[in-house]
Assembly symmetry: C2
Homo-oligomer: 398 residues x 2
Amino acid sequence: MPSISDKGRAMPPSPIRKLVPYAEEAKRKGRKVYHLNIGQPDIPTPDVALNAIRNIDLKVIEYSHSAGNESYRRKLAGFYHKLGIDIDYTDILITTGGSEAVTFALMTCINPGDEVITSEPFYANYNGFAVAAGIKIVPVTSYIENDFALPPIEELEKKITPRTKGIIVCNPNNPTGYLYSKEELFHLRDIVKKHDLYLFSDEAYREFCYDDAEHFSAMRLEGIEKNVVLVDSVSKRYSECGIRIGSLISRNKDVISTALKFAQARLSPPGLGQIAAEASLETRIEYFRDVNAEYTARRNFMVDALNKMPGVFCPKPRGAFYAVARLPVDDSDKFARWLLEEFDYKNQTVMVAPASGFYSTPGLGRNEVRIAYVLKIDDLRNSMEILAEALKAYPGRV
Amino acid sequence: MPSISDKGRAMPPSPIRKLVPYAEEAKRKGRKVYHLNIGQPDIPTPDVALNAIRNIDLKVIEYSHSAGNESYRRKLAGFYHKLGIDIDYTDILITTGGSEAVTFALMTCINPGDEVITSEPFYANYNGFAVAAGIKIVPVTSYIENDFALPPIEELEKKITPRTKGIIVCNPNNPTGYLYSKEELFHLRDIVKKHDLYLFSDEAYREFCYDDAEHFSAMRLEGIEKNVVLVDSVSKRYSECGIRIGSLISRNKDVISTALKFAQARLSPPGLGQIAAEASLETRIEYFRDVNAEYTARRNFMVDALNKMPGVFCPKPRGAFYAVARLPVDDSDKFARWLLEEFDYKNQTVMVAPASGFYSTPGLGRNEVRIAYVLKIDDLRNSMEILAEALKAYPGRV
């Protein structure tokens, strides 16, 4: 039997999906499982998107342009203009989710063996994309005590070697919910400029900023226009994760023309998803207000509930819909599995994502979990009650 | 300005898409362009698929399982059973088109720097996927005089080195339309077994076999069950290229569990496309009969028309909807561009794919083009008339 590749063996299991078999088993036993592990919002997809799909008037579902439908790209350029991001539609490639945008960005810009710096904890799938591209992710640790703010600039610079070719920032951050300030982005700009690095900015959660905090896009940083590559997605913005539509955006024409060659090899991004995404641009402003109010309430409720549990600490994030909480447990991987395999409270349990998978420094995150507040307040209330009971009952409590 | 990666620079431009700007320019000049360059059929997508999309009853378009919806995978296993391919639904990963299936297969099975053999001319995008995965495609030449049959087994074996880890076969073949015989597949099985290689079988055109020829799937080869990785796609089968749904299938559990890690990193395949693909399985048998009759008629007309042109030779393929023709021209890249830039016949022209992009041995295919017979007979008739006139007028005729 021929062997599996080294890359295949090196691919990390997904920290948010590796426990799925245990959750399925718990459900088979008739147990209710609250999913706090995954960023799958319960927010309805806008009607304009669903109606566009229901009203498709096609005889043949053809390939689209490899860069995405021109009509969609033109409207999307208009969407960014309103955010103060001045780009042309030819600066945009439509991708199969933000995932493909990250992959194309890394393949286009970074050689195998070269390095990209990011603050940890970081979106775990960057590891997978890095393994696929053969590149190395170099972490600089951010700390829960400091709300997971950008590590000091000196810490970042210490990590720079001749092989460093870029920095990835996810803003607002998955998994921490941290929203980077304008000043932090200026610091990043200075490093990027000084060392002529790429700045990959993953802004999939841009629309989820709370407490009237303003999002400042890396695309608005002056003086590094050719260095910035924006990765975006409609998944969260319009609660349409399943359509798999994202984008890779850059004012660097070489980046776009090279990424287009990768895009041409896979022919085109999903056609039906593009129809939904284009229609979604007509979503009423009230939709976003309502969603924002809902998530603010959920966050407030959840973070308060967590911090009331003895031994638990959770900063109050200002973006996305995740929080990383410190729990009084020996090992959050064991705890998360125990929740599914051994524990129930009134025949219910919760599924959380152990934070270890979001760190690349071994040993970090062992007493932390990522929790997504993507459930209704009532469900979150139940979930927090279950979690509180679980922490009391867990044999590995510290 | 930071530099583009070596991979980015090595990515070949798509031979079927690189001339698109010239076609667009020709259209801007008011010229009618017949697209013989791309495998975009004009056959209607089955109504069952379109209706399933029009009738979606979802409030939230959620992520699907990373391996694809279980309901779809179970029905798809039933589809393969009817073809004599005995697999379980857990042997199937749903992918974003056949393209992603090829990428996952190569990343899962082949180390960077290792080699995969395929007969040339071959589907040009294999080059792109190979560059992305950092692997080397080693060609063994098949010849137009021999209908592009599988090269003799000795020629294949001559290419095997310690770095050879697999063979890719596309059956029926894109770009040649060649349908491999059972005996040829038995030869492949013997080599695969002897050297313990992977056999990647791309069967995206399985449903397009003519003259009552039978398709024999690599999944039916006995004794190499753990070596075979099937790549499939619904794009051509149901004329729904734009939904981007394919599959990676193997009885080798290590291959599936490893490919699933790549699949988890990108979260899920397109959700709306999966709904269309699942519904497509209910397509009436008459649909395929009609489509087969239509393509047979188109092929017969086109191949006859080509062979009547002085200096042109085109074998009569028994599968897919492509043919590679030898033309009396100095350089088919120049000729294809000249057709768009300089030539018109009654204000019309044709777009063809130069065959050089389908070979990796430099210099081969320079007097060949790939022609897709994806247009109605009337359009094909016009196209062949235009091509005949063009060959008379072309200054580089030899």
